[in-house]
Structures are given as C-alpha cells and as structure tokens.
Amino acid sequence: MRQLGQRIAAPLAACLLAAPVAAQDFSEGSEAKSWNLAAEQPARFEARVVDILCELTGDCPENCGDGRRQLGLERSADGVLVYPNKNAQPAFTGAVVELLPYCGREVEVDGLMIDDPDLGARNIYLVQRIREAGGDWVKADRWTGEWAEAHPDAPGKGPWFRRDPRIRAEIEAHGYLGLGEEADAAFIEDWF
C-alpha cells in the first residue's frame, strides 16, 4: 500500500510541477476567425480583466487607469496573465477600448493566441469578442467608432490613421520615415 502511494504521488507531483510550462489548449468552443498568422491558435477562455501595471507593481488607480493603461486577462483556469495586444479590427488598433468596460470583472473572451518561441511571443492575444457570464457576446470592434466620436472635426479623407491629429503632427515634424523632410523627398522620388 505504501509503495502504491509513492507510485501515485510521484507522477502526480511531476505532472503538477510541469503544468506551468506545458502549453494548454483553449481552442474548444472557439469561433475565432483566422487572420492567417503563422503562430495563431483559436483561444476561448474565462478571465478577469486587470490593469497590468497595477498587477505587477501595486500602483492601482481607479477604473484601471481610465483607458491610459494596458489591460490584461488573468485566465481563470491557470492564473496566467494573457496580454491582449489587439482588438478585432484590421486597423492598427489595440484592445484597451474593448476591455475597459469590464475592468476588474470576470469575462469570457474568444480570439487568437500567439505563441511564437522564435520571436519570444508568449500569451499574446487578439480579442475578437467578449461577454460576461450569462451575457451576450460583444464584438471587440469599438475602437474606430470611439475615435470618430472623439475626433468629429479631424481633417482629411480616409481611415482614422490618415486623419489622426497626433499622427499627422508627428509626420509633419519628422516625415514618414522619421528622418525629416529631405530624407522623405529623396526616398519618395526614388521609390515611386
């Protein structure tokens, strides 16, 4: 009996010790749309929305920093802090606007996980939809609408990133290459 106990305890301990480094599969039930990225994996899981800076340092303002700070997803199944870098829009837009309404709350998310050892990418996430327990799914595509509301008089035509006042000011000051007007002019003449 004693030997049996040892035989059971050793593999169990080894299994538990290995758990934090073993990649888990969170693809079950996911309806995430592919972005045809080399390292993407569908991932649907429950998590708590957290202010990452607060989690790491204890510096915790109200409401997760009101949108200034990056937000994380502390996964319920294993406590891993997933970093949502991207929302669902193909428009150079992050995930904070989508997650901020859920600051400190438990949610379920669906999207694409990026784990690429060659680039050092671990637990990087593109969130496509979010819901609270028992609630309806909400698409993570609010960013451009929020921008449009905040910039009703932004000049120019085209998508937000061509019209954003801060981006336009940076390009006006330092050029598209960041090297100044002369470098831009020489390159544009040569390239196009």
Partner: protein, 150 residues
C-alpha cells in the same frame, strides 16, 4: 497523515502561478517597436517591422493603443508600461513621440508568464531613429507612404 501531506503539497503547487512578480533594476538599450506587428508577423518578418521602414506604421499602432515594446540588442522584447512617470501605455503621448527611437532605459523589470515588462524610470539617452532599413524593405506596409502618383 500521508494524505494530508500530499494535499498540502498539491495545494502549494497549484498556488504557485498566482504569486506576484518581483521587480529587478535593469538598464536596457533598444528600439521602441510596435509589438503586434513584431509578434504576429502580419506585416512580414521581424527585421521589416522596425526602423524607418516601419516608422509610420509604428506611429499608427502606438496611437491606436497597441502595446509598445523595447526591442533590445539581443532580441529580447520588453513591454513598456510606464516612462518617466507617464503611465499612458495605451496610446500615450510619450510612447508616440519615441516610436522607432533607439533609447537606453533605466528602470524596473518584471517578468510574468513568459512576458517581460519594464517600468522606465529614466530615459538615459535617446539616439533618435538609427535603423535606416527603408533602403532594404521600402515602406512597411507598402501603403504607409501615400503614392504621390495617385
């Protein structure tokens, strides 16, 4: 007795992943990059999504709230959470101004679940944009610079 010891060991091991991270003082030199393009490969290989080739896209992504990282000379990426008191890591002005710049940052390093995070207390030096890789890659993405002929 044996059961109680095993249960305690299991409980201790299950609790390990939720322990808070500890900070370590570091000084890192690297380029301020757009992490989504770098990690996802959506715009091409890692060499193409930095420097002058990708500067305009780095501005778009930084202003769009995508996390900014400090890509060190050894290839390690540090997610930047704060710079000299500015906690605007989701589209903030300081990070936007430093897009594509090579800086030396002094601050605190936190590591959790395979991701490196840095809280920059002091930008020791800012060398500006030092990687003129547009000569190799052109603009990345190709539409970053509007075609003057259209």
């Amino acid at each position: 007795m044996k059961h109680r010891m095993l249960s305690a060991a299991v409980a201790a091991m299950m609790a390990t992943p939720v322990l808070a991270a500890e900070g370590e003082r570091v000084q890192i030199t690297g380029e301020m990059i757009d992490t989504w393009c770098y990690y996802s490969g959506v715009m091409g290989g890692p060499d193409a999504v930095q420097g002058t080739a990708h500067h305009t896209c780095a501005l778009w992504c930084s202003a769009g709230g995508i996390p900014v990282g400090l890509l060190a000379e050894d290839g390690t990426v540090y997610m930047v959470l704060k710079i000299e008191g500015d906690d605007g890591s989701a589209g903030g002005d300081t990070q936007l101004r430093l897009a594509s710049h090579t800086i030396t940052a002094d601050g605190m390093l936190y590591t959790r679940d395979g991701i490196n995070y840095i809280v920059v207390e002091d930008v020791v030096s800012d060398a500006g944009i030092t990687n003129p890789n547009h000569e190799d890659f052109g603009p990345v993405p190709g539409f970053a610079i509007p075609d003057p002929n259209q």
